[in-house]
Amino acid sequence: MEIQDTKSTLEVTPRNNEKIKKIWKTAGILLALTVAEFIMAFTMDRGILLYVLFILLTIWKAKYIMMEFMHLGDEAKPLFYSIIVPLIFLVWLLIALAKEGTDIFLMRW
């Protein structure tokens, strides 16, 4: 009986340390932003300012995840825009539902 050969026939290229360094750097940035959010949660007063800062920091983190980890920035431009541009609809959803929520609040209380 023949033993299946699992030896790779593909050529293995050596590690590119610069690339790996960049990955860890991005991870460091994500961690730093999360720690910043934590510190803000305990030191700042709750209110619109804090919430806006939280959401901006979150979108900033999302940008790093999509651009560096998911390599969206390296894709062809049409692909990049076909993913990013539809997200504009969410801006309207956010505005509409935030208004709806505050109106319900005013009616109830």
Partner: protein
């Protein structure tokens, strides 16, 4: 990008109209993964924005933090709800546990990129190693979430006295412990409903992700991708896994910070 594509994404054998081309310089599978993720972004965004809308339709807890008691009259302060850590019963440690969970998920995202990077180099040993770490991170995250849910459902020692309409449609006033879909000791019923629904849907995605990670790990380990000639599957599953991390970043901000 698959191994067969040329620099401009047109198959050299068949020309532009012969099929097998990659119009956006991304393979079919990768393209479809991106569009699936786009639709999933819309689903999660709809959930999270609805959370925000329902949240602002309730009054926020305004008093000092150390006198906080749960009530269905106002929305709770998250850092006073999520303040328990396993094995440290009764210790007030606001957001510590969820911080650990976030750290685990971000770390598993990092090991996933390292696996993708190793896949680009056709380095099977590195792919297998990093996939294993990623899987471990995913399973640990799920275990943490199971504990978090269990604690949320069972509640605190003291509970809260609430007046509410129970499942028999009768108004009752009693001490409520923990949370279910009808009533919870932390805040309005919608608070627990949204928590279960959104973190549950995210956890479901993580579960599927772990299954996919295992499949890719297994196939990489037995040399399927070597025989196929490329490690693109790692890349596609990587996209999904990063997306799960991406959603968690937003869940974390909306549920635990705001």
């Amino acid at each position: 990008m698959s191994a067969h594509s040329t620099a401009i994404g047109v198959s050299s054998k068949r020309g532009i109209w012969g099929g097998g081309n990659e119009p956006l310089k991304a393979s079919y599978g990768k393209l479809m993964m991106w569009f699936f993720l786009l639709s999933d972004i819309f689903t999660f965004a709809a959930f999270l924005i609805s959370y925000l809308a329902i949240r602002v339709s309730y009054p926020a807890y305004a008093g000092p933090a150390d006198t906080f008691v749960g009530s269905n009259e106002y929305w709770p302060v998250p850092e006073l709800v999520f303040e328990a850590v396993p094995f440290l019963h009764g210790i007030h440690a606001p957001l510590v546990f969820v911080g650990i969970m976030t750290f685990i998920l971000i770390s598993s995202s990092v090991t996933m990129v390292l696996a993708v990077e190793a896949g680009h180099r056709n380095d099977r040993n590195d792919v297998v190693k990093w996939m294993l770490w990623t899987m471990l991170g995913g399973i640990t995250f799920l275990a943490c979430q199971a504990w978090e849910w269990s604690h949320f459902i069972h509640g605190t020692d003291a509970g809260s006295v609430l007046t509410y309409i129970n499942s028999l449609n009768r108004e009752v006033t009693e001490t409520v412990f923990g949370a279910n879909l009808v009533v919870n000791e932390y805040g309005p019923a919608a608070f627990a409903q949204l928590f279960f629904f959104i973190t549950g849907f995210h956890g479901f995605h993580v579960t599927i992700g772990v299954v996919l990670l295992f499949l890719a790990f297994y196939q990489a380990a037995v040399g399927v991708y070597d025989r196929r000639g490329h490690y693109e599957m790692i890349e596609k599953i990587g996209l999904y896994w990063h997306f799960v991390d991406l959603v968690w970043v937003f869940v974390f901000t909306l549920f635990y910070l705001i």
